[in-house]
């Protein structure tokens, strides 16, 4: 697992992506979240499973998402995650921060 990966998700953005995925798709299980991010980014981003689940559990602990056991489309037991009110607020904050960050980075790169 120590081999470098090209499309690792920038540290700190995983939460934003997860929140956004849940905001647009409602209830999702972990695998669907990875699939969604991969699909929505047109295969540019790939979620590292090793960080997704700790992140999900941390967000659950922080009250950003809530989780419950259900059945997947293929009738397998799966843990579904959904956004809480606090999660929605956090998403708005993180999105704004992200926009400012990318805008800043873009400007710096322009002048360089």
């Amino acid at each position: 697992m120590s081999s470098p990966r090209r499309n690792d998700i920038l540290q700190g953005t995983l939460a934003l992506l997860v929140l956004k995925s849940l905001a647009s798709r409602g209830k999702l299980h972990g695998y669907a979240i990875t699939a969604y991010i991969q699909h929505a980014s047109e295969e540019l981003l790939r979620v590292e499973e090793g960080s997704l689940y700790p992140a999900l559990h941390r967000m659950e602990q922080d009250g950003l998402v809530k989780a419950e056991w259900g059945t997947s489309e293929k009738n397998r037991p799966a843990r579904f995650y959904a956004l809480t009110a606090a999660g929605k607020r956090r998403l708005a904050q993180e999105q704004e921060q992200w926009d400012r960050l990318t805008e800043g980075v873009r400007r710096v790169l322009q002048y360089a």
Binding site: M1, H29, G30, Y31, A35, E48, E49, G50, S51, Y53, P54, H57, R58, E60, Q61, K66, A67, S72, K74, R76, P77, A78, R79
Partner: protein, 889 residues
């Protein structure tokens, strides 16, 4: 996530891991499906999915770590590690656990007494609803007419009356006492106490003119009849009268008084059965009942108080004591009733020992703190020794917080092991402590079963001590600099600060133990003064005999004549030097006072003219060892003719200042009629009456046969050269000769005096014991620190010796160093003692809280102990072999 789930996770970590596993398994199969759909074979797809997932164990660990309370799971790992570390070091662990166990155990033992005596509610259903009736002056004693007035007021059905008493079970001869109570028929229904056999008293059992029935405790039924079932229907003799047992009360219920195990309950109406006069239930000045009630669960205390206030006036108006002065009667009529919370019942023990128990709690808490300092010092030394290990763990990436947690886990484990040891120790110690409260004649019963409150106390004590001694070493260990510590290659480079901290801890220990030694010195000094003081009588060699003639059924003249005959026969007994008879004896808990009038003395208040009284026979003063200082003792003829009185020095000084009282006239003042004039015929030395520590009270003695005869029982005192108890068989046979219905009770005067010193003895013994424990702990701490200092300076001392320093000089150097440490502690301790011993003032006798002798002696004792503790390490330092220490470098 809900709390219930968090808790479930906490106690079922394997369940949590299972959840995570399931979630991951789901992910893997979805991934494999996807890969399979792209054309991989199933096994390949599964392998690939697993590969992409990465290291499953790490991942699971990461997920678990963040999971709610998941950190507690890693605590289990910490605990396992700590357990291994403690097991690897059995010496350290044993010393730490034992000292903590003693400390926590002592605290738990004292606290379980506090709990049983002060905090615990009565063992009845919904005890929080219990209220006690008191009058507006706060007094809770009532007469039977007041109680009956209250009982017969509509709406008062849940109220009941209770009067503690002692029952004599013997029909004649020596008394067999059982603790008992007169209770109203409403008591058992109101308390919702149930029988284990037969039935309990009901309101219909408690009607005027009732026959003798009684209910007994399970313990009594087992002792006397071999079981509850056998007891029902049996007859017992109470004060010489037969009573039928109708039931046995459920175990656990001990009555309304904490500290007593009430054995027999009889209805109030049956007082008339054992009384020697008619109409005792109508007596309006016999205040012997306490009244309780159960308030309506929806009513607050205020509503109940308002109710009682409303019903009071007619009750008091109908029960005015006829022989009171008009002013007193007026005051009586305006009294009002109110209620207070009474979930804990009442307790003489509670009012006597509340403050003493508080003092002991402070003392044991201090001992625990001193013990904690020792364990902290041990941990500091151990942390220093483990620096290398900690440095390695830091270097390979352990978080500092993680290390602190690790160290704290170890401390808390030690503390909890100490707590368990403490609980075991406390169970034994608290039972032992109860014996301090009891005397042969007055057994104290306390329910010391471990309840939630005591358990919580011990757990809290253990947790706090764990934090107290663990936090500083843990924090310190985490500040290890991995580089320098690793470079030192485990040679244990210790920074000076760790040593300074250890020294500060020891100085604090010395200071605290000095405070305890001073406190113990003061309490033991007071006790010694009480034991060795001259109380105005001689306590040794006197047998006390209480004789009760009530069951003989004799009329008064015959009782008087018999008492004379008995006194004469007692005087003729072989081995008896002197004998006397009296109404009461000093320190017996029974006393008599009255107001007197002396021509020429204008009292400032009723209290100012009140003096203590006793009625005594001729020869009584000689028997008790109270010397006559002027005039004469009573003769056998006194009391039948003109009235006479003997007074003590304090009375003489107060009422006849500067002149001889002999030949002067004293009268007793009662509200209805002035007493006959009594001529003072003698003056005796002052003697203590109610307590050894009292100020001498003005006391008047009248001849035992003078005036109205006061009852059916009488006290005899026999002074002998041999053991007083040897006289008992002969006294019994003399009494039996007169009538087999006479009942007798024996005690020695010495034991009676000693029983009055229970509280000071308890305080002196326990504070002495704990001060010795504190001193031992401080000495161990000091020894450890000095020895550690010497070990640290081995090479320095070796160099000094090699360069020609005299061994005496090295010895002095180490001793001086220890001396400075002790001195700082002693100075701080003296200052603290001066500020805090004031709290003991009410327990002291014959010395002040800042008694300079006690302070000086304690300081000298501690200084001596400090020198003794440092002599061994100092001597070791002085006898070091310089070549050897230098070779070690």
């Amino acid at each position: 996530m809900s709390w219930s789930r968090r808790l479930r996770n906490l106690f079922r970590p394997e369940g949590l891991s299972h959840d995570i596993d399931r979630e991951m398994a789901f992910h893997l199969s979805e991934k494999a499906d996807e890969l399979e759909a792209r054309g991989m074979s199933r096994p390949d797809a599964e392998r690939e999915a697993r590969k992409r997932f990465g290291h499953r164990g790490t991942m699971r660990e990461n997920t678990r770590e963040v999971d709610v309370l998941g950190w507690l799971e890693s605590l289990v790992a910490d605990a396992r590690y700590a357990f291994r570390a403690l097991r690897a070091n059995p010496g350290f662990t044993t010393v730490a656990v034992l000292s903590l166990g003693l400390g926590i155990g002592a605290n738990t033992a004292i606290f379980s007494l506090v709990n049983a005596v002060i905090l615990r509610a009565l063992p009845i259903e919904r005890s929080e609803e219990l209220v006690r009736v008191v009058n507006t002056g706060g007094n809770g004693d009532f007469t039977n007419p007041i109680w009956e007035g209250l009982r017969d007021t509509p709406g008062m059905e849940s109220y009941f009356a209770y009067g503690s008493t002692g029952f004599n079970l013997a029909t004649g001869g020596e008394v067999r006492n059982a603790s008992g109570a007169w209770v109203s028929g409403s008591m058992f229904p109101a308390l919702r106490v149930r029988p284990v056999a037969g039935r309990l008293l009901e309101p219909s059992d408690d009607r005027r003119g009732c026959s003798g029935v009684a209910v007994v405790s399970e313990g009594f039924a087992a002792r006397e009849f071999g079981g509850a079932a056998n007891a029902v229907g049996q007859k017992v003799t109470l004060q010489g009268k037969p009573f039928e047992l109708i039931g046995v009360v459920e175990p656990g219920f001990f009555g309304m008084e904490v500290g007593e195990q009430t054995a027999i309950y009889a209805p109030i109406c049956s007082i008339q059965l054992v009384a020697s006069e008619p109409n005792v239930l109508d007596r309006r000045s016999r205040w012997f009942l306490s009244v309780y009630g159960r308030r309506h669960p929806e009513n607050g205390l205020e509503a109940e108080q308002a109710l009682l206030k409303r019903v009071s006036p007619p009750i008091f108006a109908a029960t005015i004591p006829p022989n009171w002065s008009p002013a007193d009667q007026k005051e009586y009529e305006t009294m009002l009733l109110t209620v207070q919370d009474a979930a804990g019942g009442f307790s003489g023990l509670r009012s006597t020992y509340k403050d003493a128990l508080f003092v002991l709690l402070v003392v044991v808490a201090t001992v625990l703190v001193i013990g904690c300092a020792n364990v902290a010092n041990l941990l500091l030394a151990r942390a220093a020794a483990r620096q290398h290990e900690l440095a390695v763990r830091l270097a390979i990436g352990a978080g500092r917080w993680r290390l602190v947690r690790q160290m704290l886990t170890e401390s808390l484990m030690l503390a909890f092991a100490g707590g368990i040891a403490g609980l075991l120790f406390a169970r034994w110690a608290s039972a032992l402590l109860v014996r301090f409260f009891s005397t042969r004649r007055d057994a104290v019963f306390l329910d010391l079963t471990l309840d939630g409150r005591v358990l919580l106390f011990s757990i809290a004590a253990a947790f706090l001590t764990g934090l107290l001694f663990g936090l500083i070493p843990a924090w310190r260990a985490s500040r290890v600099d991995p580089q320098s510590a690793m470079k030192a290659q485990g040679r244990g480079v210790t920074r000076g600060s760790r040593f300074a901290l250890g020294r500060a801890l020891v100085a604090g220990q010395v200071a605290l133990s000095l405070v305890l030694i001073v406190a113990a010195g003061l309490l033991m000094g007071s006790f010694r003064k009480l034991v060795t003081m001259d109380p105005g009588f001689r306590r040794e060699g006197v047998l006390l005999v209480s004789m009760n003639l009530a069951n003989t059924g004799w009329p008064e003249p015959q009782r008087r004549a018999t008492h004379r005959q008995i006194l004469d026969r007692l005087r003729d007994m072989p081995g008896v030097k002197q004998a006397g008879a009296s109404y009461t004896t000093p320190l017996s808990n029974s006393s008599w006072n009255d107001r007197i009038a002396v021509p020429g003395y204008a009292p400032s208040s009723g209290r100012d003219s009140t003096v203590m009284f006793n009625a005594v026979s001729e020869g009584w003063f000689a028997t008790m060892g109270t010397d006559l200082v002027a005039g004469r003792d009573f003769g056998p003829a006194d009391g039948t003719g003109a009235q006479v009185v003997v007074v003590n020095e304090t009375l003489a000084k107060k009422f006849f200042p500067g002149e001889s009282p002999l030949g002067r006239i004293v009268t007793v003042v009662t509200s209805d009629k002035p007493g006959p004039p009594m001529e003072v015929i003698g003056v005796v030395r002052d003697a203590k009456y109610q307590a050894l520590r009292e100020e001498n009270q003005p006391t008047a003695y009248v001849p035992i046969d003078q005036g109205e005869w006061w009852g059916t029982w009488i006290e005899y005192q026999l002074r002998s050269d041999a053991t007083p108890a040897a006289l008992i068989p002969l006294v019994k046979s003399i009494a039996a000769d007169m009538s087999p219905a006479i009942t007798l009770e024996f005690n020695t005067f010495e034991e009676q005096v000693s029983a009055s010193l229970r509280r000071p003895r308890l305080l002196a013994t326990l504070s002495g014991f704990f001060a010795a424990l504190a001193l031992t702990l401080a000495v161990i701490g000091l020894y450890g620190t000095v020895a550690y200092g010497v070990a640290r300076r081995r090479s320095e001392i070796g160099v000094r010796l090699a360069l020609g320093a005299a061994r005496g000089r090295v010895l002095r150097m180490v001793l001086a160093d220890a001396g400075r440490l002790a001195l700082v502690g002693i100075v701080a301790g003296v200052a603290t003692a001066l500020g805090t011993t004031r709290l003991l003032t009410s327990f002291l006798y014959g010395l002040t809280a800042t008694d300079i002798r006690t302070l000086a002696l304690s300081a000298v004792l501690l200084a001596g102990a400090a020198i003794a503790a440092s002599l061994l390490p100092a001597w070791r330092a002085a006898s070091l072999d310089p070549t050897e220490t230098l070779r070690e470098e």
